[in-house]
Symmetry: C2
Subunit: 348 residues, 2 copies
């Protein structure tokens, strides 16, 4: 595979996320030591004094000597709760910004950060600008499905509120391209998130977007409701960022509540504690099927550069998945394909 | 209590829901035989030939003789998948419509139906009209919280898409009144559903509604995100019907998926089956804490008449909760209080 795949350099914001280099550096090393990544490279961006000792401690010296791992200095760090506007204006030498600059200059083909989402989006938009034909970038993520062999891509998950029907069509093109080239699905089924059952089915925006998508070259299959998201009926779900964010967070909140209730009940008596111990191996399988780490890495899509956002609280395994996602998008020229497809969505 | 509580007559659409009179009639009888409901009455509306034998079989004859249970004939039934517009136009003698007519005429103080939501909303709006000062009715429901002693009311859950900031304020007034008078909460904390963490926080609509609510007499506490809905931080969550419906259905879909994964994993081997058997009593407690039946009964709020919508697939226990909800709203004059409060929300 490596002979056919062009070398990809990923710029990693080593300082981002709740744990910074403690997570990002070991994840970078783990990524580079996988046999199928043997031709790829990583630039760790951030405070050299913090990154360097961890590279040494985690056995990254050989990768550094081989030129596959390097450290690029950046003197500032964007805090997780910092205002995106202020981070953009004042922290021009932040690890996040410098990592994105490397993509802009062509020194790297993708950037990965577990930092402040708002600041990452603001910085990436400012530095990279959107692809011609795309009004706004979106946040896209893979969600797990009940059928473990399937996944669904959903966008926008919160970058844009008040999006127009035309922007929803652009999101559909981007989701379709990503699913086709990264997940290798032939003709991805694209659906719009809508409400049903009640008197008025859908907002004016969604109805208009549906008309536009029906007239497009995409494999548009109609509406899905939010209770169908995790049940593998379609490949790409398109929505406004407000609605997507609400769906994603409602889902996270519900999962958290159910797990809390399970934990409380399995601790409520001696019998239930014993039953919990007996059932532990089964709960481990359940947990592994629902493991959000294997779906880590939301992408900022629609920019002239690949930027993957890892969950801030992820661990080494999760961050490595985010790097892997970035590498795949770069290898498969997702940006070039979006650029081509957006031009012909209403002509073919 | 019954000496202080005025007599309430509830009109029950006996034909609505997936099971019709098989569920609605026993639920009505169970409601009327509860000691604290000893002064209240129910009118069962629908096909007499279907309802009467079930009343007899379920021991309702004494209630009929005492004048507390009666049957009101209606010759038509609205199907669960029927177009709301057609149901409204053509089925003028449907059990749903006749039940609402009884409220309009004053023969009943509330109506309950497990039928087609869209048709119920369209019919109720047409027959009852909105309270002065309310532009549109909303769907409000109680959601369970992690803390079993708490609940949260959320609206709108799907009656209105494309709602305005002013409508969101009206929803806030209605949610606050319902929570104050039915749940007896002194000064209900009202929040707007919003998105956070990302670059642009909230749509123009939500930002404007937040300004209006800050200037109102309500106990407005700001924004909540969708992952906080079930964690009891506020008493009333206000949102557009599209977003509310997405949140509710995403939550239902996630719960369904987690339960499916649990079931599959607890059947995957002999060991896991045995572990499941050992853990069964604990799962029963979990199930009872998450039981949606005890939160059955979404209300159509903002109309000149109380209308409660039960889940279509609910059982006798769930439908009885919906009747109870209707009775409480009537006893506590929710409509009169909304009417008063809407007039002074910006003056006190």
């Amino acid at each position: 595979m490596s002979s056919k795949t062009p070398v990809v350099t990923v710029a990693v914001d080593a300082m981002g996320g709740d744990f910074g280099p403690e997570v990002t550096v070991p994840a970078a090393i783990a990524f580079l030591t996988k046999p199928h990544n043997s031709s790829h490279r990583i630039v760790l961006v951030g405070l050299v004094d913090m990154i360097e000792p961890i590279v040494q401690a985690k056995g990254g010296a050989a990768l550094m000597n081989a030129g596959r791992l390097s450290i690029h200095a950046a003197s500032e760090v964007v805090a997780m709760d910092e205002s995106p506007a202020l981070a953009l204006k004042r922290k021009k030498d932040s690890s996040m910004r410098v990592a994105i600059n490397l993509v802009k200059e062509g020194s790297a083909q993708a950037a990965v950060s577990a930092g402040n989402t708002g600041a990452l989006m603001a910085t990436a938009r400012f530095v990279l600008k959107t692809i011609k034909g795309i009004d706004r970038p979106a946040i896209i993520s893979t969600l797990p499905c009940l059928d473990p062999s399937k996944t669904v891509h959903m966008l926008d998950l919160g970058a844009n509120v008040d999006s127009t029907p035309e922007m929803l069509v652009q999101f559909a093109v981007m989701g379709s391209v990503l699913t086709h080239y990264v997940d290798k699905k032939e003709s991805p089924r694209v659906a719009l998130l809508n409400v049903g059952a009640e008197e008025i089915k859908g907002s004016e925006k969604v109805k208009r977007a549906s008309q536009l998508l029906s007239a497009s070259s995409l494999n548009y299959v109609g509406y899905v409701e939010a209770d169908e998201i995790l049940f593998s009926k379609v490949d790409v779900i398109v929505c406004d960022g407000f609605e997507g964010n609400v769906a994603l967070k409602a889902s996270e909140g519900t999962a958290k509540m159910i797990l809390s209730v399970l934990k409380e009940e399995f601790k409520s008596s001696l019998y239930s504690k014993l039953a919990g111990a007996v059932a532990l191996p089964v709960f481990k399988s359940v947990q592994s099927r629902l493991d959000p780490r294997s779906h880590n890495g939301a992408s900022l899509i629609g920019l002239n550069g690949i930027v993957v956002k890892s969950h801030g609280g992820t661990d080494v395994v999760g961050f490595e998945f985010a790097i892997q996602e970035a590498r795949q998008q770069a290898s498969r020229d997702v940006i070039g394909h979006i650029s081509t497809e957006i031009g012909k969505v209403f002509t073919s």
